[in-house]
């Protein structure tokens, strides 16, 4: 099926080499590789920052840094992890796998695709530059408001806020360009015979993600633009003296922010069922139910935003509405969980690293979802809001549900992408170290949060000391375990046991019909799906 009549490609096989290859490439595999590599690098950068935070929290009192710098680390850590690690990883997979999975010759708009990636490094520079500038006495460092940019702090803040605003603008343009490309590819490039309801689940997850991005990223862009004009051009959007309202920013931000958490996860919900089916050696359970659930979640995602600031003050009917609509999301989510478990049910399962990550993912992400339900309860949230309980909740969803899901995908597709098997023993070790140290890090945060420890504050009451110490130890093990992951990926890219075309015994789908690694140009002749 992988007929490679490259003659129709304008770029032939004489594409430039070295740095020019990467700067100019329009090839979806090259671009996917760049996204994934960038993501991994930024994951390590963001991880290093948070180790600084956990080191400071190892003991009560201020040891290593002043509170302002602490808050800068918190804010930039979050922005990097969300926008520069998790989102690019999902986009990298989209670039690599969507054309292969739907039998397309490439992404629909290849040059735009290249631009989507090359907007990322400038954004990363904008985010981190203020740290460097501060070393030279320019400004007082990076954004210190957390990733949420709340005014009035963000209106008062120094040049770090401006840099972050523009970073968000560039990241936003990148996401919208990526989304346009993915939507167009899915609508226009599918192999003949592949109807929408025959698309792989990963494609579905990304289609809805892309819709959410197009609907919400521009709203974030608008919101931070208002911040910028409030800071420099005398507008009063978030200033009561002029009739504005800081809480309006929270509305605008979370109109983007809540869908964003699904943007981060929907691609993962796409490929996890594919992994489960591969290693259970039986077809995915409830394909249609999953597709409809993804739609339901995508639709609900844009109407629940105010659950992030129940305590800011709202009329009671609004509280009730946002509480119940938030809780309603758990219904389609429960359908998904059911389908994932039923996919494994009575399968002839084996537990290679991707499957270990996928199964661990279901459990840990499940905890994230359940604790979200607790937070959605207005009465309870008055206690938990802005506490470490929230921090633990969203790390169960974003680290376990997001990053560990991505890791499952990396191990699953790495042999296809590189043509070599990774080291299975190391992979398993990486899984167990990650899963265990993750829990060691974050379970204590539930407890200190319930007991009232606030987030984003570098010092804490003595009663929280033991739990914080445990959490810090967990975090350092977690952080250094990731070096195994990096090592494994590098070794796998360099060489190792040859991977077969199918790689996994139970693998289904068009990407497994190509050689490993696939030819530079695949599916110049589209396969016909029956």
């Amino acid at each position: 099926m992988s007929t490679t009549t490259v003659a129709h490609h304008e770029e032939h096989s004489d594409h430039p080499t070295g740095i020019m290859r990467w700067l100019t490439t329009t090839n979806h595999k090259d671009i996917g590789t760049m996204y994934l590599t960038f993501s991994l690098v930024m994951f390590l950068v963001g991880g290093a920052m948070v180790l600084g935070i956990r080191a400071e929290l190892f003991q009560p009192g201020l040891q290593l840094m002043n509170p302002d710098f602490y808050n800068q680390l918190i804010g930039v850590h979050a922005l990097i992890m969300i926008f520069a690690a998790l989102m690019p990883a999902a986009t990298g997979f989209a670039n690599w796998m969507i054309p292969l999975q739907i039998g397309a010759p490439d992404m629909a708009l290849p040059r735009l695709n290249n631009w989507g990636f090359w907007l990322l490094p400038p954004s990363a520079i904008l985010l981190t530059l203020p740290f460097t500038l501060a070393l030279f006495g320019i400004g007082d460092g990076a954004i210190a408001t957390g990733w949420t940019f709340y005014p009035p702090l963000s209106v008062q803040g120094g040049i770090g806020v401006d840099f972050a605003i523009f970073a968000v603008h560039l990241l936003g343009v990148s996401s919208v360009m990526g989304s346009i490309n993915i939507i167009v590819t899915l609508f226009n490039m599918r192999a003949p015979g592949m109807t929408l309801m025959k698309m792989p689940m990963f494609a579905w997850g990304w289609l809805i993600t892309a819709f959410l991005l197009v609907a919400t990223i521009p709203v974030l862009a608008g919101a931070v633009t208002m911040l910028l004009t409030d800071r420099h051009f005398g507008t009063h959007f978030f200033d009561a003296a002029g009739g504005g309202d800081p809480i309006m920013f929270q509305h605008l931000f979370w109109f983007f922010g809540h869908p964003e958490v699904y943007i981060l996860l929907l691609p993962v919900w796409g490929f996890i069922p594919q992994i489960l089916q591969t290693f259970s050696r039986k077809p995915m359970y409830g394909y249609k139910a999953q597709v409809y659930s993804l739609w339901a979640i995508g639709a609900l995602a844009v109407v629940v935003w105010a659950h992030h600031f129940f305590t800011a003050g709202m009329p009671v009917p609004a509280l009730l509405y946002f509480m119940y609509s938030t809780m309603a999301i758990s219904l389609p989510l429960a359908v998904l969980f059911f389908c994932w478990i039923k996919t494994m049910w009575k399968g002839s399962m084996s537990f290679e690293t991707p499957m270990l990550f996928a199964v661990g993912w279901i459990i840990l992400f499940g905890i994230g979802g359940l604790t979200g339900l607790v937070l959605a309860d207005v009465a309870a949230d008055a206690q938990y809001h802005n506490s470490y309980f929230v921090v633990a909740h969203f790390h169960y969803t974003l680290f376990a549900g997001g990053i560990m899901g991505i890791m499952a995908g990396v191990y699953y597709w790495l042999p296809k992408m590189t043509g070599h098997m990774y080291n299975e023993k190391l992979g398993k070790l990486h899984f167990w170290l990650t899963a265990i140290s993750f829990n060691v890090t974050f379970i204590p945060q539930f407890f200190v949060g319930l007991a009232g420890m606030p987030r984003r504050i570098p010092d804490y009451a003595l009663q929280f000391a033991e739990f914080n110490m445990i959490s810090t130890i967990g975090a350092f093990i977690l952080g250094f375990s990731q070096l195994l992951f990096v090592y494994n990926i590098i070794m796998c890219a360099k060489g190792g046991q040859k991977a077969t075309d199918k790689v996994w015994e139970g693998a289904e789908g068009l990407e497994w019909t190509l050689s490993s690694p696939p030819p530079y140009h695949s599916f110049n002749e589209q396969p016909v799906i029956k």
Partner: protein
């Protein structure tokens, strides 16, 4: 879905333009931040202002040049017949999704307008008089807000402030834009009928109407700033008024530039009755700008 007879999708050569374009954006953004660094970073950063401006202009030049080259390549590819129906369909979908994202962008500012007008301004007037610094504030729209000290800066509403009335320039602008929507459609009919004269006259009229709109808007802004005490800093009304009409005007500017390019391409005979996505994409964009204006006219000016 793609018809199978043309299963050779055009995948272009590698291109250096996108990455240089991004570098230009970086320079623009960082330059801007430096140029306004004193605002929130203190006077000690004043020396950054000059270099910042240069960085910004340099970045802008790079961006414009790269866009020129990039779009030039697209035009060349188009006229040399690289794009068939399959590629054409990609561009159509792409443009639709892009316009959808623009709608979302404007929605943020409309949302801010509704929020302030319906919620925050009346709320500020509605506090218990014993506990509010805004005792005398009426909370009616249009509003500059109650005034007061925020973040160490005092804001006082301008007593000379007047809101913009919908009669006069805004009404003229509405007529101009609606007419331009008609002329571009007329030009499109000309294109489909292969009537070059109708096409070019229609396009030229559309461009002229777009420019006339921008001139009127310039006059309107001048009037607002010099005679009505209405500025970007005029509280809730001023902020939403200028940001909404300003971003719209920016889109009209871009749209007019694109129309000019399309007009030139029409004169060169780049488009055929069957194959003219470039024309249609810009026409769609123009209609979108038109519809946004109607929203502005109703919600910003009239109501």
């Amino acid at each position: 879905m793609a018809t199978h007879s043309e299963n050779q999708y055009f995948v272009p050569h590698g291109s250096i333009y996108p990455s240089i374009l991004s570098a230009g954006l970086l320079s623009m953004a960082a330059g801007f931040v430096f140029s306004v660094a004193t605002d929130r970073g203190g006077d000690s950063l004043a020396y950054l202002e000059g270099p910042g401006k240069w960085m910004m202009y340099f970045g802008l030049a790079v961006v414009l040049f790269m866009m020129f080259k990039w779009l030039g390549t697209v035009v060349t590819e188009s006229v040399t017949g690289k794009y068939k129906n399959w590629e054409d369909k990609s561009f159509r979908w792409g443009m639709i999704v892009f316009i959808a994202s623009e709608v979302a962008f404007f929605a943020a500012f409309f949302g801010a307008l509704f929020y302030m007008r319906v919620l925050s301004v009346p709320d500020l007037a509605g506090f218990d008089p014993n506990f509010t610094p805004y005792k005398d504030f009426l909370g009616t729209w249009p509003s500059q807000g109650p005034g007061g000290v925020v973040l160490g800066e005092t804001f006082e509403p301008n007593p000379a402030f007047k809101p913009m009335h919908w009669m006069g320039l805004p009404l003229i602008n509405t007529v101009l834009l609606l007419t331009s929507g008609a002329t571009i459609t007329w030009a499109h009919w000309g294109l489909i009928k292969n009537n070059r004269k109708q096409l070019i006259i229609g396009m030229a009229l559309t461009v002229a109407l777009g420019i006339a709109f921008l001139i009127c808007q310039g006059l309107e802004y001048h009037h607002a700033y010099t005679e009505m005490g209405l500025t970007l800093g005029s509280g809730a009304y001023g902020a939403t008024f200028f940001m909404l009409t300003g971003f719209h005007g920016f889109h009209v500017t871009i749209g007019t530039l694109m129309l000019i390019v399309i007009l030139l391409r029409c004169m060169k005979g780049h488009f055929t009755p069957e194959h003219h996505f470039g024309f249609e994409g810009v026409a769609w964009y123009w209609h979108f700008v038109d519809v946004v204006w109607l929203g502005l006219f109703i919600f910003v000016y009239m109501l």
